[in-house]
Structures are given as C-alpha cells and as structure tokens.
C-alpha cells in the first residue's frame, strides 16, 4: 500500500464528495481508465477491509476520486481534511476496453469512473454522454464534463433537470436511432435495463459491475460475477467491466 496526502475533500452534493490525493507521478502513470484502487483510512479494525473506488481524474500529481457516502467507510472518509494521510493499493482490475464510436451512460455516482476515460481519450471521445440522477442536486461535475464538448443528455427521476424519468429511456430512444456500443456504470437496475437494450438492438454493452470486494487482487475469490456459459468471473481481476451478453445478470440477487 502507498501513503498519500489529501489535498482536497470537497462536498459536491448532499452525499457526493470529490477527494484529491497527491501521488508520485511514476505510480500515477500506471493507472488506466476503468481501473480502481482500494483505500484504507487508518489502522482501526472497523471498517476492516479497504474500500474500492474508481479513478475519477488525474491532473498533474493529483488523483481524484468521486465518491458517495454510503456506509461507515465513506462516512469516515468524508470527515478527513486536507493534509490528512490515507493509504491505498492500486491500480487494480482491468482497464476499460478500447472502444470506437461509443456512448457513455452513467447513473448517479456511476459517473465517477468516466472522467479519467475522457481525459485519456481526447482523440477518441464518446459520441454522447447519458447521465441520469435522482434530482438536479445529485447531478455533479457537470462543468468538468462540459469541457470535453460532447453532447450530454440529462435525466432526473423528478424532472428537476433534463428529461423526467430514467436515463435508460433516453438511451433506448438513441440506440433505436443510432445503434452504438455502450459503456455504462450505475445502479444494478440500470445496468440490467441496458443489457436488455443491447440485446434488443444488437449492440455491444460493456457494464461496469459492482459487488462487495474484499482483497481486490484475486486472493479471496469473493467477488464473483456469474457467466452465461456457466461458472464465474472474478470482478477484481477479470473486471470490473464486462460485456453484458457474457454475464448472467439474472443470477445476481
């Protein structure tokens, strides 16, 4: 594990924060979009297992993580201040596949891992970004996303900004018109719907999956994703991104 100093831990919405940590450049250059890292805040025994986070952005020697406060670990993380030290292990997992002419679709905090993809793929940017959240207040980092000059389609569950409804409804209309490869990250229900859309319109959909992770490095075999052909993949070493038609989403409860 590496030690890193916090340079920023800023509230972006009621529950979403942007964390910036200072990391040596020769470590940072190993990170590819789609990979993740595990963070341990201190030597306390509860929570015990470091938590995994995707890489939101890298600028100079600062690595940014966009995270939502969900449980004990993220609550403790949100209380840390500039100058505090954390420990991390990474990069872990496989990078996103190299895609051409693709659409990004994010639900809620699912937007977190896509920032670094945009930064690293300036000459191969997605065709459009679809971004849905519960309300206007939960849509974060819009100014950052706008910098890449790609059309952004927005939806909110309550209609407080953009289309009223789920982002998958907008995405389905788009794919119907223009069938394109999809790269998606968000709640399980959203990913399931996208797998359905991909099947119906015969396009590839790559889904960034989530499950409780312990080791994150293939040691414990705890984070399995069921495969359609039978057997399992391990999210931490084979994922976290999977082609939707290869995984059995119905076998995940």
């Amino acid at each position: 594990m590496y030690k890193a100093k916090i340079v920023l831990n800023k509230k972006e919405s009621d529950s979403i924060y942007l964390l910036g940590i200072k990391v040596l450049k020769n470590i940072l250059k190993k990170f590819e979009p789609g990979q993740f890292l595990k963070i341990k805040l201190d030597e306390k025994l509860d929570p015990l297992i470091p938590r995994p986070f995707s890489i939101h952005a890298i600028e100079d020697d600062i690595l940014y993580i966009l995270y939502q406060v969900i449980g004990k670990g993220t609550k403790n993380l949100s209380r840390l201040k500039k100058g505090d030290i954390i420990e991390f292990l990474g990069p872990l997992g496989k990078p996103f596949p190299q895609l051409k002419d693709y659409i990004l679709c994010a639900g809620g905090i699912g937007i977190a891992g896509f920032g670094y993809l945009l930064q690293k793929n300036k000459d191969n940017l997605p065709y459009k970004i679809f971004y849905g959240a519960k309300t206007k207040k939960d849509l974060v980092r819009l100014n950052f996303l706008k910098k890449f000059h790609i059309p952004i389609k927005i939806s909110t569950d309550d209609g407080s900004k953009g289309y009223k409804g789920f982002i998958t409804e907008l995405l389905e209309k788009e794919i119907k018109k223009e069938p394109k490869t999809i790269l998606a990250c968000g709640p399980f229900g959203m990913l399931k719907k996208i797998a359905e859309i991909a099947e119906n319109f015969k396009v590839d959909a790559y889904l960034v999956m989530e499950t409780f992770l312990a080791c994150g490095i293939g040691f414990c075999r705890g984070c399995v994703i069921p495969l359609k052909k039978g057997g399992y993949s391990h999210l931490c070493i084979d994922g976290p991104t999977f082609l939707s038609r290869e995984i059995d989403l119905n076998a995940i409860s």
Partner: protein, 289 residues
C-alpha cells in the same frame, strides 16, 4: 532468529499464509517481492484442493461485519489434476515450504488426494475437516470424532511427510484435537472460521451464512489455543484474527508453535512483512536476549 521446527517441518519464520487467502499464488509476486516472501513467510498453505474442479458458491460470497469478514466462497478450486499441472510448478518457485490444503467429501477422497501428491516436492498437507461427509449423510467431519479418527489414521499410514489437521473452532474441539495427537498427526491448526450469519436485507429477509474471520474472532481462538496447549503435546498452529505482530506474539506465548494469517492478507497483501518486522521489535523485550 525466528526459525521454528515442527516435527520435520523447518520454517524460517513461524508465519504461514492461511489457505484461501492468497489465491493459488497467481498474483502474490505482484505485491510481495520474492526476497520478502522468502525472508518473511515460513510456509505457504494453498487454497483447499479437491479431487475434481469446483466452481464455488453463487454470489454473494462475502460481507463485512464489525472487525470481521464472513465468507461463503465454497472451495472454488481447479481440482488436483489441474492444480498439479498448472499451479504447483509456479508455487514451488517461491522457494518457501509449501503445504497443500486438502478438501474431501469422504475419507477416500483425502486418501486419493494424498496419493496424488505423494511424489511432489511439497513439504506437507493440511486437512480441512470443516466439510460434510457424504458417506455419513452429510454430517461434518469436525462433529464426528469417529470419522476423524479413521481419517487421520489412514492418512498417517499413507503420508510420511508433514501432516496437519485444520480444526473447526466449534463442535467437540478438544476431543478432535486429542484424536489428532493419538493418531500421530504432526500438528493441528486452531482454527478455521466460525459459523456465522449476517443479515443483508431486512425485508424480504436476506442472509449470508458463512465463516467468520478477522480480529473479531481472535479472543475466541486464542482461548482455544491456550487451553488445548495446556492439555496436549501436539504442536499447535494458531490461526484466527492475526493482523499485527502483537497478535501473532500473543498466539506464540499462549501455546502456538507457529501461526497463520488469513484475513490480514485481504486487507493488505504486504502484511506478512509488516507482522514479522513487528515481532522482531518485540523480541528483545519479551525474550530478554
């Protein structure tokens, strides 16, 4: 300075990596340098290997509880044939004594597994008795002293090298430990995980049943090690919730000859190095060298 000898097994340090907590070594060298592995790890205990490949359990397989971890992996492994062909050669390259953890569904399975490993250059085998015996209607070996007696006796006849039995912390633990001693196992590992349950969702009720490990169980297992070491001569390898040099030392001072770390590897793959370093800092004050 830390070297130990358990029967014929010579270990550079008393630290072993516990079964199922470092995969089959595929990614170990990515996180621990070869020289750190050799210097700090006394022995490597592989993931449980069965006669045939096993896919393991459907998700969810793991969940965290206060200071602990519940797992329900289901002994995912490639089976003994693939293990020997595809994994063993690389495992031996670490240059650290290798102990293969074995998992069977009946006594005969363990005998066949030992037979398969007879000519391999491993140091020993560790027998997982926390599994159901299909020949006896699925009663767990660890709840059935009579079955354990036959199992250890037959394995001892077959297997000359190091033989250790990994006990469950529940059931007739003292009786099972005594049988292992009588039937001349070289050591007992105290202990496996504790049967536990976590409520994942309240409505509809969704639970995860599995084995609890981590610092939460340390006081329980430490007590078992302490009490059993007072009664029996058989060497004890302590295993339960060790994540620091202090934890390890407590086990050693309470009757264990060596110890295994498990959940610690999942927190930080470099904990083996950290723990040995910490033990070394304690040694002068504890042992008055």
């Amino acid at each position: 300075m830390l070297s130990v000898k358990i029967k014929n097994l010579e270990l550079k340090t008393p630290l072993m990596l516990a079964s199922g907590t470092w995969g089959l070594g595929e990614n170990l060298a990515q996180f621990l340098k070869p020289k750190d592995i050799k210097k700090n790890i006394g022995a490597l205990v592989t993931k449980g290997i069965s006669l045939y490949p096993c896919e393991g359990n459907p998700p969810p397989r793991i969940s965290e509880t206060p200071c602990g971890l519940i797992n329900f992996i289901g002994l995912e492994n490639p089976g003994i044939i693939s293990f020997k062909k595809n994994y063993l050669p690389n495992l031996l390259k670490f240059g650290v004594p290798l102990i293969v953890n074995l998992h069977g569904e009946k006594i005969e399975d363990f005998i066949d597994l030992a037979e398969e490993l007879k000519n391999e250059s491993i140091e020993g085998i560790e027998i997982n008795i926390s599994c159901p015996n299909v020949e006896k209607g699925g009663i767990y070996f660890f709840l059935d002293p009579a079955a354990v007696k036959i199992l250890v006796r037959r394995l001892r006849k077959k297997w000359d090298k190091f033989l250790s039995i990994k006990l469950s912390p529940v059931g007739p633990v003292f009786e099972i430990a005594e049988i292992c001693q009588k039937e001349e196992a070289d050591a007992i590992v105290i202990a496996n995980t504790y049967p536990a349950l976590k409520v994942l969702e309240l409505k509809p009720l969704k639970v995860l049943k599995g084995g609890l490990s981590g610092p939460a169980i340390k006081p329980l297992t430490l007590r078992l090690v302490y009490e059993i070491s007072k009664k029996l001569e058989i060497p004890i390898i302590g295993c339960g919730g060790i994540i620091s040099g202090r934890d390890a030392l407590e086990y050693l001072l309470c009757g264990a000859k060596a110890f295994q770390i498990g959940t610690a590897n999942l927190i930080n793959p470099r904990f083996a190095t950290k723990i040995i370093k910490e033990i070394n800092t304690y040694i002068p004050s504890i042992f008055h060298f």
